[in-house]
C-alpha cells in the first residue's frame, strides 16, 4: 500500500489513544519498578510513555508468548480430541521502537514459511503495530548495522515521528488505516515541510549512534565458510554462563519447546520459549546430545544469526541491532562482542 502521511497534534494523541483503548487491548511502554520501563497492557493514555529507553524485555511476548497455549487435548471415550487454541483478540502495540517492529516482521516471515503456523499468524493478523521512530538512538543500539532503524521504511502499520509540536503519522498498511480512521478529525494531511523534517531527523539520528557496531559482513564470510577457529569458540564459550538471556530477549529468536499443562481434565499443549544455549535444547530422548559442549551451541547460535546460508533464506541477519543482548548477557558474549571476535579472530587479547 502507498504510505499515507498525516499529522496529529501532540495534545490530541491522548484522544486517539482513548479511542484505541475502547476498541482493543493497547500494549505500550510503561513505568515498572525503580525506573524500569516495561511493555504492558495499558488502562489509560496517561500511562503511555513517549520519551523512553526501549524496554529490556521485548514486545515479542505479545505475539509469541513465553508460555503459549496452542492445542487443547481431551479424552473422549477411547479417543483423544485435539482442538487448536487461537487467540483472536485485537491488540495494538503502541510506541514500539523500530528494531522491535523489524523483529516482529521477521518473526512473521518465519512463521509464514510452510508449514505456516496458524496459531502465531492468527495473533499476528490481529496485532496493529504503531511505532515511534527513534530521533535519538539508544546508547547500546546498533540498528544501523542491521538496517532496522532508527527509522522504518516498511514493516510498520503506523510510524510516528516526533516533530516537536506534532507527530508525523505515516500509515503503512490497511491495519494502520483502520487505526486512524475511527477519529479522522484528529488527523490532517502532512505538509511537505513535515515530511522533509522527518527525513532530516532520520539523517541526524544516524549521525548520533554510540560505540556499538556490528560488522556482520566480514563475520558472515568467516562463519559461513567455517573459518572461525575451534579454539576461538572454545575460548569465547568460557565467557558465557548459559543463561539464555540473549535468546529470550532477542526480537528475532523464536525457538521453543513443548509441554502439556494439565487443566480441568484436559491437557493444554503449550509452546514455551527456549534457548539454543541451554545444554538440554538439543538433548534427545535417548540421552544423546548432538551439541553437548557450550562452544558447539555458541557456534550454532552464530551460524543461525550470521551465516550467508540463513541470510539468503531469511533476507536479513538474525539481529535487529536493539542491543538488548549486551545488557542482558550474564557473561560477555553479546552479539557485537562475538561478531567482533569472529571478524578479528581474537577474543580478549
Amino acid at each position: 500500500m502507498q504510505p499515507i502521511n498525516l499529522t496529529i497534534q501532540k495534545r490530541e494523541a491522548t484522544k486517539w489513544l482513548e479511542k484505541l483503548l475502547e476498541a482493543s487491548e493497547v500494549i505500550a511502554p510503561r513505568r515498572g519498578r525503580g525506573g524500569d520501563i516495561v511493555f504492558s497492557t495499558t488502562t489509560s493514555p496517561g500511562e503511555v510513555l513517549w520519551d523512553f529507553g526501549n524496554p529490556l524485555h521485548p514486545p515479542k511476548q505479545f505475539i509469541l508468548p513465553q508460555t503459549d497455549p496452542i492445542v487443547k487435548i481431551q479424552r473422549n471415550g477411547q479417543r483423544h480430541e485435539v482442538e487448536p487454541i487461537y487467540d483472536d483478540s485485537p491488540r495494538v502495540l503502541f510506541n514500539a521502537r523500530s528494531c522491535d517492529v523489524k523483529g516482529i516482521a521477521f518473526l512473521t516471515r518465519m512463521h509464514e514459511m510452510e508449514p505456516a503456523d496458524a496459531s502465531y499468524l492468527r495473533r499476528a493478523n490481529r496485532l496493529t503495530v504503531i511505532s515511534l521512530a527513534c530521533t535519538t538512538p539508544c546508547p547500546l543500539g546498533f540498528c544501523v548495522c542491521t538496517d532496522s532503524g532508527p527509522f522504518l521504511n516498511d514493516s510498520y502499520d503506523v510510524q510516528l515521528t516526533d516533530l516537536g509540536e506534532n507527530y508525523l503519522v505515516e500509515v503503512g498498511s490497511e491495519k494502520g488505516k483502520a487505526a486512524v480512521s475511527d477519529v479522522p478529525e484528529l488527523f490532517r494531511p502532512a505538509t511537505e515541510g513535515e515530511v522533509s523534517q522527518r527525513k532530516r531527523l532520520e539523517i541526524e539520528a544516524k549521525n548520533h549512534f554510540g560505540q556499538e557496531t556490528c560488522h556482520f559482513a566480514s563475520a558472515m564470510r568467516r562463519v559461513s565458510t567455517g573459518r572461525v577457529p575451534e579454539a576461538l569458540w572454545e575460548r569465547m564459550s568460557d565467557w558465557c554462563l548459559e543463561c539464555g538471556g540473549c535468546n529470550l530477549v532477542c526480537p528475532t529468536c523464536y525457538c521453543f519447546s513443548v509441554k502439556d499443562l494439565g487443566r480441568d481434565g484436559a491437557w493444554i499443549r503449550c509452546r514455551m520459549w527456549d534457548s539454543c544455549q541451554y545444554a538440554a535444547f538439543t538433548l534427545e530422548a535417548s540421552g544423546h546430545n548432538p551439541r553437548p559442549q557450550r562452544k558447539e551451541r555458541m557456534k550454532r547460535r552464530f551460524f543461525h544469526k550470521a551465516s550467508a546460508q540463513y541470510y539468503q533464506r531469511d533476507g536479513m541477519v538474525g539481529c535487529v541491532g536493539c542491543g538488548r543482548c549486551i545488557k542482558v548477557c550474564l557473561g560477555t558474549t553479546s552479539m557485537p562482542a562475538v561478531v567482533g571476535a569472529i571478524r578479528k579472530g581474537k577474543w580478549h587479547e
Binding site: 513505568r31 515498572g32 519498578r33 525503580g34 525506573g35 524500569d36 520501563i37 516495561v38 504492558s40 529490556l56 524485555h57 511476548q61 508468548p65 513465553q66 508460555t67 568460557d238 565467557w239 554462563l241 548459559e242 543463561c243 539464555g244 538471556g245 529470550l248 530477549v249 519447546s257 509441554k259 499443562l261 514455551m272 520459549w273 527456549d274 534457548s275 541451554y278 545444554a279 538440554a280 538433548l283 540421552g287 545488557k327 542482558v328 548477557c329 550474564l330 557473561g331 560477555t332 580478549h348
Partner: protein, 636 residues
Amino acid sequence: MTVPTTCPFCACGCGLYLLAEQGELVGVAPSETHPVSSGRLCARGWGAHEAALWGNRLRQPLINQHGRRETASWAEALDYVTGRLKDLIEAGKPVGVLGSPRASNEENYLACKLARAGFQTNNVDFCFHSVCGPLLAGLEDVCGEYAPSASLNDIEQSQTILLMEGDLARTHPRAAFSVLKAVEGGAHLVTLGYTRTQMARLSSLHLETTPGNEGEVIDSLLAAVLDLGLEDPTSIALHCDGVDALRRDLSSARVTEDACRAAQWLARAKRAVILMAPSSGQQRQARRDAAALASLAAITGHLRRPGSGLLPLLARSNARGARDMGVTQDYLPGHQPIGDGRAQQRLVDLWGKKLPSAGGLEAQSLLESVSGLVVLADDPPSVLPMGQRAMAALEKVEFLVVLDAFVTPTSSIAHAVLPIASFAETEGTITNMEGRVQEIHAAAGLPGEARPGWQVLAELCARFDGGVSYNSAPDVLKEIEQAVPRYAGMEQPASDDGWGGRWVKDFDGGKCKVSAAGVLGRPTDKHPHLLVRDEAFDWGRDPLISFSPTLSRDSQSERKLFPNGFVEMCKPCADELGIPVGRRAKLISVHGDAVLPIRLRADLKSGVLLVPYAFRDRISKVLGTEGVMAVKVEQA
C-alpha cells in the same frame, strides 16, 4: 500483570518480574534497575515462573483418618493437627519444627515462634543448615558474626578475587558474572579447588587442592602473607587477635611459589573479595577452612575495608533469612545464643510466653528423635547429607505435618498436609546472602484451597497460645523488627517506587580471632584414591527445578541415563585403573564398598573420584560419616 519480585533460587537475590495473565503465570521479565541483577538473570531466573505453574501442587488440606488419606476443610485439618501435636506434647514426647530456605522470613519467623513459644522446644532447624552451617560457623569463629563483609557488586570492583571454588558458574551465576567482569577488567582471579572449572580456566592462577584438605592451600597462603611480611599492620593492631599463635601454627606450612604470588596479589590489592563455597569433607574441617579464609582476609586488611571482604556463597535463596529468624536450634531470632538473657527477655516480653530452657537438636538428629514434626516447605531426604536415611527417619515419626506448595516425597508420607502458597502467590521478604532484605509479591492466584504460609503458621501459633493475630505479611515483619533488632526499619515503605531492598544492619564484630586450617592425613598406598561427595546443592530434586519443564531437563536426563548414579573421574585416572568407559568401578574404603558406573570428566584432578550430591546414597557405605574418603578402586 507485571509483578516485581525476588528470584527464589540461589541466595544472590536477583530481582525479576513475574508475568501473569488471568491469575496464571506466563513468564519472567528482567529488571534493568534492580540493584543486584541490573537486567541480568541466569537460566534458573528466566524459568522462575515454571514450577509454580506446571508443578504438582498441593491444593487441599489432607489428613490421615480412618487409616486413609482424606481431604479436609481448613478448620478440620487445623483442629486435627493441633490436637495430635498437643497430645504428643502432653504425653511428654519430643516434637520439633523444620523451617526452610525456600520459605520467606515471615514464614520462618513464625515457624521459630511455633516451636519455641508454641511447642516450648528448641528443636527447630532447617535441613540445608547441615550443609552451610560449618561455613558460617567458621566465619563466626573469626569475626564474631556470620554476616558477609562484601557485596556482590564489590566483586566487580576488586583487583584480586580469591575463589574457594565449588562451581561458581553453576551454583551462583550472578556472582560468576561479577567475577567475569572483574577478570575482563584486568583483576587477578585466584581459584582454589580440585576441579578445573570454568572459573578456574579463566583464573590468573589456579591453586590445586586435595579434597577434604583445602586447608593445606589456605594455610600456605596465610604463611606466605606472614613470611613475606605482607600483613596489614594497622588491621592487625586494630582488629586481629591471635596472630602470634597463627604464626606458630603455620611454622610447618609449606609455602609454595604460587602461594606467594597469590598472597602478593591479595595483600597488595586495594580491594579484594574472598568468595567461599562450602568445602568438601568433614564438618569440623570445613569450619576450620572457613575460619582460615576469614583470617586471611583479616590479616591482609580486607575484612573490614569498605569494598573488600568475604562473601560466603549460600546455595538457597533464604538460607540467611532462616538463620536470622532463629530457625536453628542454638540461636534465637536475631542470631542470639539461646542462653543469652537479654535476648530471652526480649522474646518473653514480645511473645508473652516463657522460653524453653533445654537445648534443641540439629536437623538430622531432630528427624531421628522427635515424635511430632512440622516440616515447612522442604523435603529433608533431598537436602540432608544423610539422604534416604532421612526418609526412613520420617517414616518413623509418629505425627508428621507438612506445609508446602508442592507435592514432595515428604508431603506424600505426611499424616497431615497443609497446602500453602509458592513464592509466586504470596507476600513476604527474603534475605539474600549479602544481607539485603527484599520483597516477594503475589503474581498468581492460589491453587485450590491453598493459603499463604504465614497465615497458616500464624493460625497454628494462635492455637498454641501464640497470642497475637496478624492481618498481613507486613504485620509479621513488624513483629520481626522487634524480635530481630538488626531488621529494624524494614517494614517502612521504600522512599521511592524503587526495588526497596534494605540491608540487615551492620554488626560490630569486635576483634577477629585469627586461626589456621590445619592439615589432615593423606590417602595411603592401600587406599590411593579420594572419593568425594560433591557438596553443591542438588537443585535437581528441588521442586522449583524438578517441576519446571525447562530447568529439569538436564537432571532428569542424567537420572534416566544413570538411575543408580555414577562416579566421575578423569581419563588418565580411568586409563591407569584400566577401567574402560561404560564399565563400573568398585570403590572400597575401610567402611565398606559400592559399585557405580564411571563417567569421564576432563576437568577433574587425577586421583579424585567425584559423586554428585544427588547420588550420595549410593556411596554412603563407603564414606561412613565423612564427605571425603580414601578408597581403592577396582573394575567391577
